[in-house]
Each structure stands twice: as structure tokens, then as C-alpha cells.
Amino acid sequence: MKPEEIAARLTPLLERETGGPVQIANVRTMTGGATREAWSLDATISEAGQPRDLGLVLLIFRPGGQRAFSARDEFRLLAATRAAGAPVPKPMFVGEAELGRPFYVMERLSGETIGRRLVREERFAEARRVLPVQLAEALAAIHRVPLDGRSGSDPLTFLPRPEPGKSAVASELVRLEAMYRQIAVEPHPAFEIAFRWLAERQPTSSDVALVHGDFRIGNVMVGEEGLRAVLDWELAHAGDPFEDLGWLCVRSWRFGVDHLPMGGIARRAELFDAYARASGRAVDPEVVRFWEVYGNLRWGVFTLVQVRSFLEGLSSSVELASIGRRTAETEWELLNLIEGKGF
């Protein structure tokens, strides 16, 4: 679709929703992923007779792509997490008929997402000081989101949830192992050890909450003053909230700053204390250790998933090929955690 066509087709929707005249300008393509395309645009709306400028992002979902959620579901998810107090881009408009394909429009935010810069650069020193508490508070807010439509919000029935009769922990383990057995082209004894270790140590499940599923440095937008927004909701599901805490500490998201396990910016204890204060849930370090082992294993399995498209000839990318040689990093870290080193 051409930029002017997008502007012309979206204007009536925005005029209807805002109840006044709307000007759309600067429609530019941002990214064209496999499952959706992202556009940046500026809109001038009328608010109480005064013009107001909005920076917006338009996400158009491609037909047939493999994705977790529909445009409408993702819109609902953002609205629900925002209502619970989590910093997420404000979802503004949702539709399908106007563009002939499902889409939604959200607030455009700016900030840094590249992990290597966030953990190292001097200008983010203040951000690194406040991020542990801010990330813990954001997680606590996400984990408070009602899943069942209490307090008038839409029930989030589209989320993957624990299998009937199974705990959240057991469901995640079964899913991950099934993915591994299906995708692995070679045996990985370290992963077999990790699956065995996890199966023998399943924590008694906590309550089932909204789990972000990919909450880490690299998927949050940060300014020099601190956290601006939590992004990348494609892996959200209903599950054990401590899964998010373990994932945040997975070694790959430390960007080389290994002595600070929480995303290369803080000690685990800082996260645990801040999360306990913000959520009211007591944090058992052994439960988070379970989820950190699970997280490193999950990332290890994801590297196998990514390299498959190279091995099967679907892509000749040197980047995808190289990811296959990163699996060993997750194996090493799994052995560290299982043998009690570094936790």
C-alpha cells in the first residue's frame, strides 16, 4: 500500500473516533517483518477545538503469517496491561475494513532498545540505577492484569494457558520439550540433563497470571531517565509469574556484563526485593532459579528453531547460520546453574 493511500483510508476512521477533523502526514515505512508491516505516521487531531499532534505507529498484519495473536487481540492485550499500570505504548485505533487487512494504531514512543548500549553506555548510567525497581514494578503490574474480564475489561481468552488438569509449570515443560523433540536435528546431552533436572524440581505452582513471555533487556524501550515502555508481546500467555523473573536473568540478555545477572544491570536480589514489594508476592530464589534454568533452556531451543530455516535451505543468512553455534552458550550456562555455579 502507498503512503498516500494509507493516509486517505485512515483519515475517516480517526475523524470518527476523535469527533473532529484530522490531518495525516509523514507516512513512512518502518519495518516489513514476515508477519506484519510497521508504518510511522503523524496525525493532527482536534481536541476541544485546538489542534493536537500525535506521533503514531500503524501495524498491518499480513494474512497467513505465523503469529500468536490477531490485531484485535494484541490491541486488547495492550489496553489491559496499560489499564493495570504497566508502561506500554497506548493503543489508539483498531480496524480491518479501512485497509482491507487487520491493523491497529498505537502511540509512537522513542528511546533505546539495543541491549549492548543500555548495559554499557555512560549516558544510561542513571537509567541503570532506576531500572531494577522500574522493571520489577512493570512486571508486578503485568502480573496484576485480570485474565477473566473482571472490572469491565475484555477477558483475555485468546491467551495460551495451562493445559486442563496440568499446572502452569508442567504445561510449559511439556510444550518446550515437545518443541525440542520436534526441532532438534542432533542430540544435545546438556539439554537432556536440563529437562531431567527441571522435571524433578517443578515448584508448586503459584497463581496463574498474565506472563509477558519475552520480558528482557532488548524488549524494553529506555530513555536516559529510565524505563519508557515494555514491547514485544507476541509470546504472552497465562502462566506462572515467576517465569518472567527467570527469563529476565537469562545470560544471553546480559550482553557480556555477566557479573550482573539481571539483564547486565543488577544483582538478582535487587530484582527479587523490588518485585516482592511491588507485587506482594514472596519471592523464593529457588523458584526463580528453576525458571532461570527453564529460560536458558528455552533460549537454547529457540536457537535450534532459528537455525532450522538455514539448515533446511529456506534462508542463506550468515546470521541465522551463526546462531546454530550459539546453542553451546546456553548449554554451558545450564551446566553452571545446575551445578550451582553463578547463582
Binding site: P187, P189, E192, E319, A321, S322, R326, A328, W332, E339
Partner: protein, 132 residues
């Protein structure tokens, strides 16, 4: 026997072309991919250097856990045999055979993974004080 340059000398030439010429002359995604490609060449070189020693160590470790077997010669036959033995090891792990005494298993798997990282990412081992 091929003439000089050797495999290693050729790989070093390609790596330095990518790192010293292509990376500075590109930007953004192409520069990132050039860096990834240079790293891949360096990795291949280290793999060729350590290959025989690492394979022998993995085979000896598997011998200790699964019982001794003659090590096949030839790269393809060796790779197939190591793969079959690792599948057998995986089946034993799943059956819980090492639950009571995991130390020998962990030591073998750690040594094997360590050899992989010596080729792919030495910085990981350095960070853990594991390079001696």
C-alpha cells in the same frame, strides 16, 4: 598436496579482508553481517585446529560413560558414531540412570561443551574464569 597458502593462511586472509576492509566500508545491517561473517571464518579456523583433539576427548568421555568402542576414522563416520552415542547417552539421562550419581556425566558434558566454546566463544569461558 596443495601448494601454499595453507587452509589457515587462506582463511586468515579472508577474515582480515572482511574485518579490515568490508566492515569499515559498510554500515548498518550490512556492516553487522560482515562482522558476523568475519567471526564465522575465525570460528572455522579454530575448529580445524582443535578438531582432532576435541573429537578424541569427546570419544574418550563417551567410552567412560557408555563402555569403550573403537573410534571410527574419517570425519563423516566419526560424526555419525558420535551422534549415535550421544543419542544413547540422552536415552540413559531420560531413563534417570544418572540421577543418583550425576558427577561423571556432568564432568563429561561440561568438557564437551567447553571444547565447543573454545571454538565458538572463548569470551564466555573467560568471563567464568574457565580458561586457566
Amino acid at each position: 598436496m596443495q601448494d601454499r597458502p595453507t587452509i589457515h593462511e587462506l582463511l586468515r586472509a579472508v577474515e582480515s579482508f572482511l574485518r579490515d576492509d568490508v566492515v569499515p566500508a559498510t554500515e548498518g545491517r550490512r556492516q553487522f553481517l560482515a562482522r558476523v561473517a568475519a567471526n564465522a571464518i575465525g570460528l572455522v579456523e579454530r575448529e580445524l585446529q582443535g578438531e582432532a583433539e576435541h573429537a578424541a576427548r569427546e570419544w574418550a568421555g563417551l567410552d567412560a560413560l557408555l563402555g569403550a568402542e573403537p573410534m571410527p576414522g574419517g570425519r563423516d563416520a566419526l560424526a555419525a558414531a558420535v551422534r549415535a552415542r550421544n543419542e544413547a547417552l540422552g536415552a540413559r539421562i531420560r531413563a534417570g540412570e544418572y540421577d543418583a550419581e550425576p558427577a561423571a556425566l556432568l564432568a563429561h558434558v561440561r568438557a564437551t561443551v567447553r571444547d565447543k566454546l573454545l571454538v565458538t566463544n572463548r569470551a564466555y569461558l573467560e568471563a567464568d574464569g574457565d580458561l586457566g
